[in-house]
Subunit: 267 residues, 2 copies
């Protein structure tokens, strides 16, 4: 589950109402933020307000190594792992490639535990993540930068605060560079549930933008210098709201028959 940033009450309500019980072990990973105590405590309290009684947070960083036995034991028992916002490069730096990271990946595949994240915590979920690219620079070759993510899912770019910060250009650029990737732009207070690395279902108040480069018939990317503006023919864009899903394998947009997820009411 990935949220585009902003108010995350909706994501927390959805985890509580559809994913976990009050006894579920929830681990909040505060590594991305530079204010781990405040952030961790706020999430703990938010889950506890909904009745969850087994919520803890861990701040993996240069001083608190990923592979401590305590963390490994806790992640072995976790049923929900929640990544906070902050800077996605910190997740790569302190978590990527650790035993703890591999344990999360293995459990996510074999046991179908829930991995959730907002903002940087959402952006880091794929095997590649965008970490730079601003405004008009977003359409200049080389100005959109990507790096390895945490690889819970593959071949998607998840970008966040998407409509609020005008990130269409940078996602279009990233997808044009890697047309085998689907671009997913999450508005704030808007999120997705991805099942089986394929079905993307929308929840929340805003819009999820899908960019599909599989129909691109021309691009100047290989011919121009760094810093030059890029040209692309035939990028496909979809806008999805709650009640719709996107299927990555079929590259298909679908309206769902059900109406509303429980993202607003307390449970």
């Amino acid at each position: 589950m990935a949220l585009g940033g902003g108010d995350d009450d909706g994501l927390i309500n959805l985890i509580r109402s559809e994913i976990c019980s009050v006894e579920s072990n929830i681990e909040v990973i505060t590594t991305a933020t530079l204010e781990p105590m405040e952030s961790g405590q706020a999430y703990k309290e938010a889950f506890e307000e909904l009745g969850c009684n087994s919520v803890r947070f861990m701040h993996i960083d240069e001083d608190n190594k990923a592979d401590s036995q305590d963390y490994i034991t806790r992640i072995e028992q976790a049923e929900v792992i929640f990544f906070t916002g902050g800077n996605q490069l910190r997740l790569k730096e302190f978590l990527s490639g650790s035993k703890l990271h591999h344990l999360m990946q293995r459990r996510f595949i074999e046991e179908e535990i829930t991995i959730a994240g907002t903002s940087a915590g959402a952006a880091a979920m794929s095997n590649r993540m965008i970490y730079e690219g601003y405004g008009s620079y977003s359409l200049m070759k080389g100005e959109v930068k990507t790096t390895d993510g945490l690889s819970f899912i593959n071949n998607v770019f998840i970008d966040t605060h998407f409509t609020e910060r005008g990130r269409f250009g940078r996602l279009a650029h990233a997808v044009s560079k890697r047309p085998e990737f689907i671009g997913i732009g999450l508005g704030e207070e808007t999120g997705i549930i991805i099942k089986h690395n394929n079905h993307i279902e929308v929840f929340g108040a805003g819009v999820v933008t899908i960019m599909d480069g599989s129909q691109v018939s021309y691009s100047n990317l290989k011919d121009v210098e760094e810093g030059d503006p890029i040209a692309i023919e035939n990028l496909t864009m979809h806008l999805l709201v709650e009640g719709h899903e996107y299927c990555i394998q079929d590259r298909a947009f679908r309206k769902l028959s059900q109406v509303k997820r429980n993202t607003s009411a307390k449970v």
Copy 2:
């Protein structure tokens, strides 16, 4: 000719090098701006620096009515009419439907004089123009507002400062509402020459974004309330840079064989 705002030396150089001679009558319309003297004088000097010796400006507003005989005589003699930036609603308010406006339209069709504009002056050129729609609101039904423009061209939405201000969402929204319109998003210092209401050729430093709604296969626009987020399936997007053109009738992207327009060097 339409420029996306920002530094307009490129547009002025292009008019001087490809469109007019030093004797051409150039009329700058400062109606959109609230600083007409400063803006008009600056454009007059910019054209004069390139050798043009017949440049004047007119500020049509509540005190200086469009249909004065002096303005009509001058527009009868103009070979280039240049609209400055400012607020496009002022162009509609003070110019639209006047005899002067009809004179410009008639001369543009019959005599192929050049109509040029930057920012608001570019946005107002079509028969419909976007004048409101910001950030995350741009994908909420009813939050993108359009009104009549000056109708030198038809069935396109021209949006400006496009990548700089993250206006992809609002152009996508406008095109989804009116799929017979082509959306044209101009980056700053980037412009287009539109010939015969059909061929769109790019000049300048940045990117022109084309949004084509003719392949849209689903939209929730008719089913949701004002303020609700919108869903759209299959919007086609192209990114064009200098050396490329887009043909509206064929909805076709083309790479041109020629290389560079004279938008940077003095002539």
